[in-house]
């Protein structure tokens, strides 16, 4: 049976963004740019439900 690997690719992209946002948040924290830190932390939090959504959509495809 032919599998769709779209979910795998999308989740890889999500995890890549996670890494970027985490690193950005930590760096901006040390630059005392606290607004940016909060924004990146929230973005990172938002990525988790997105990842769950992608998983539920793609697990049986």
């Amino acid at each position: 049976m032919k599998r769709s690997y779209r979910g795998v690719i999308l989740l890889c992209a999500v995890l890549f963004l996670n890494i970027i946002f985490t690193q950005k948040a930590v760096h901006q924290y040390y630059y005392e740019d606290y607004t940016a830190t909060v924004i990146y932390a929230v973005l990172n939090l938002v990525l988790f439900p997105i990842a769950l959504f992608i998983y539920h959509k793609e697990k049986n495809v």
Partner: protein, 173 residues
């Protein structure tokens, strides 16, 4: 009777129905689950940074300082300095008038060994005479000598012809 002598003997330990083939194989769905778990882990790991940054933004860590009059504006000429005590009587501080409406005030205990720091008008620098520490008067950061940390800055404003100290900016201890 002599079943233990048979190799292999008949199984009677109830593990024959446990099938561990391919147990460690990571299939497509398992991989996606791992990725979702990792996303959750990243989300949780940024929580402390975000929450600390949020408390900083809300100013929960700022200390409250009482206002205190320092000196009349017309008693302090441009380029002159005035010594006062803020926030308590035991924290000596130095106010420097740099321009008509430009003031800088610092707690003047040197960040090296807490000698008093003086205003050197000719060089436009703050000087600690004990070990020749120099500070930039605009920022309070050390420019030469042993001190490595900036002087704690006191925020000032002019109210009704008087210079008033309103607080101390956060500083490294």
């Amino acid at each position: 009777m002599d079943k233990n002598n048979k190799i292999p003997f008949d199984e009677d330990n109830y593990t024959h129905n446990i099938n561990k083939n391919n147990e460690r194989k990571l299939d497509r769905r398992g991989f996606m689950k791992t990725m979702v778990g990792a996303a959750g882990l990243f989300a949780v790991s940024t929580l402390p940074w975000g929450s600390i940054a949020a408390t900083e933004l809300m100013g929960l860590r700022e200390k409250k300082y009482a206002k205190k009059e320092i000196i009349d504006v017309n008693k302090l000429k441009v380029g002159e300095a005035f010594e006062f005590a803020y926030p308590t009587d035991h924290d000596s501080a130095l106010l420097v008038r740099l321009g008509d409406n430009e003031y800088r005030a610092y707690q003047n205990a040197c960040t090296h060994l807490r000698c008093p720091v003086f205003w050197e008008k000719e060089k436009s620098e703050l000087v600690c005479p004990c070990h020749h520490g120099f500070f930039d008067v605009k920022t309070g950061s050390p420019t030469a000598g042993p001190p490595r940390r900036p002087l704690p800055e006191i925020t000032v404003q002019v109210e009704g012809g008087k210079i008033v100290a309103t607080g101390v900016k956060r500083y490294e201890t």
